[in-house]
Amino acid sequence: MSVQLKKGVLELIVLLIISKKDRYGYELVSEVSKVIDVNEGTMYPLLKRLTNDKYLETYLQESTEGPSRKYYRLSVLGIEYRDTLLNEWMEFSKSVNNFIEREQNDDNRNI
């Protein structure tokens, strides 16, 4: 999967994961890795950007093992942003899929 394509979707995936449950950095990275192969280095800057843009909020919570962890949670703005991104993605993927299907049908007919 190309880097550009991944970058666009990554934001949406991150927001969706966090909207289910508040997550700390490492946990979030491993969750995202289950969906797409992601470079860990890009994850923290992304989280930082989302936080700076006020889509995410952070708070510290003690953990039973080791130092306290920085958790991310969705802000109200983030929820709106997530919904917009999700709708955009749905429409985008739908039209792309439709297009691909039509193309393939045309190809089949031509054969």
Binding site: G41, L60, G66, S68
Partner: protein
């Protein structure tokens, strides 16, 4: 790469961000690495998973909407000059914000430092002369160039030593409590860096080693003592000057009744007197402050 070098690299490359932000970012990365190591990866592997450190830092800076071309470029001469100007102005700002006692203390410590430097440079000159005397067996013709070379080397060494000590002195005085003034100023250049961070986050921050150098030996008592001696040496002539000025002022004042032309010198004298009294009193209060405190404490314990 080890965690320590990784931390240092990040710290260095993200220098445009303010210290709070940097410690926050670095502590998050370090947490990630340690958690990865708990899951069975080696330190090397865990850090290598972040990919190229240049790209990583570029991406971090981009998330602050920092123009990464700026931070990637090596500092130009102009930037050094502007940095220096900023440093001067922020130092001047701090000096003006100081209260009188701190200012006097600073001046006295500075004088003490100069005395120490003077003694040390005498020692360095002595060493230079000793080296020169080793060449005494040579004829004058050869000795002369060697003498010149030694002189130049000793002079350079002295200059560098003095500059270094002064630099350490001032950076210790002005930068140790609030981080580098350059860094504080550079915040203004960068959008979004200034965002307040929740105070509750502070406890988890990993302490990043401070870059400012400290004196390895604590010689502040020596400074203090020397400062006081110099203070007394200044105080005595200043007191006499004040006394003399008052006498002269009195004489001129009595003459003034008949001669309106003396008004100028009288005003100048008055100004000199006020300055002399101010300096004397502030030096005096600095030198005798501690004793007063001790006396007061003694009285309190007696009560």
């Amino acid at each position: 790469m080890t965690i320590e070098t990784f931390k240092q690299e990040l710290n260095q490359r993200l220098h445009v961000l303010n210290e709070k932000e940097r410690t926050e970012i670095i502590s998050e990365y370090v947490d990630h690495i340690t958690m990865k190591m708990e899951d069975g990866k080696s330190e090397e592997e865990a850090i290598a998973d972040f990919g190229n450190i240049d790209d990583l830092c570029k991406e971090i800076l981009e998330s602050y909407h920092v123009n990464t071309e700026y931070s990637k470029a090596k500092k130009t001469f102009d930037e050094y000059v502007s940095d220096f100007a900023e440093w001067i102005s922020s130092t001047a700002e701090k000096v003006t914000q100081m209260n009188q006692k701190d200012l006097v203390k600073l001046i006295l410590e500075f004088l003490a430092l100069i005395v120490i430097l003077f003694i040390l440079s005498g020692v360095i000159n002595l060493i230079g002369n000793m080296i020169y005397s080793f060449f005494g067996f040579l004829p004058y013709m050869f000795r002369n160039p060697i003498y010149t070379i030694i002189n130049i080397i000793v002079g350079l060494f002295n200059a560098i030593f003095v500059l270094y000590v002064l630099y350490v002195f001032f950076s210790k005085k002005f930068e140790s409590n609030e981080g580098s003034p350059l860094r504080r100023n550079s915040k203004e250049k960068v959008v979004y860096v200034n965002k307040p961070i929740e105070k509750s986050m502070n406890p988890s921050f990993v302490e990043v080693p401070k870059t400012t150098k400290d004196f390895s030996l604590d010689i502040s008592p020596v400074f203090h003592l020397l400062g006081k001696i110099i203070g007394i040496l200044i105080l005595i002539p200043m007191g006499l000057v004040t006394l003399g000025l008052i006498v002269v002022f009195g004489i001129i004042g009595s003459l003034y009744i008949g001669h309106a032309m003396i008004l100028g010198p009288v005003i100048i004298l008055l100004g000199c007197m006020i300055i002399a009294i101010a300096v004397t009193s502030s030096f005096g209060s600095f030198i005798f402050r501690k004793k007063e405190k001790e006396v007061k404490m003694h009285e309190e314990t007696l009560d």
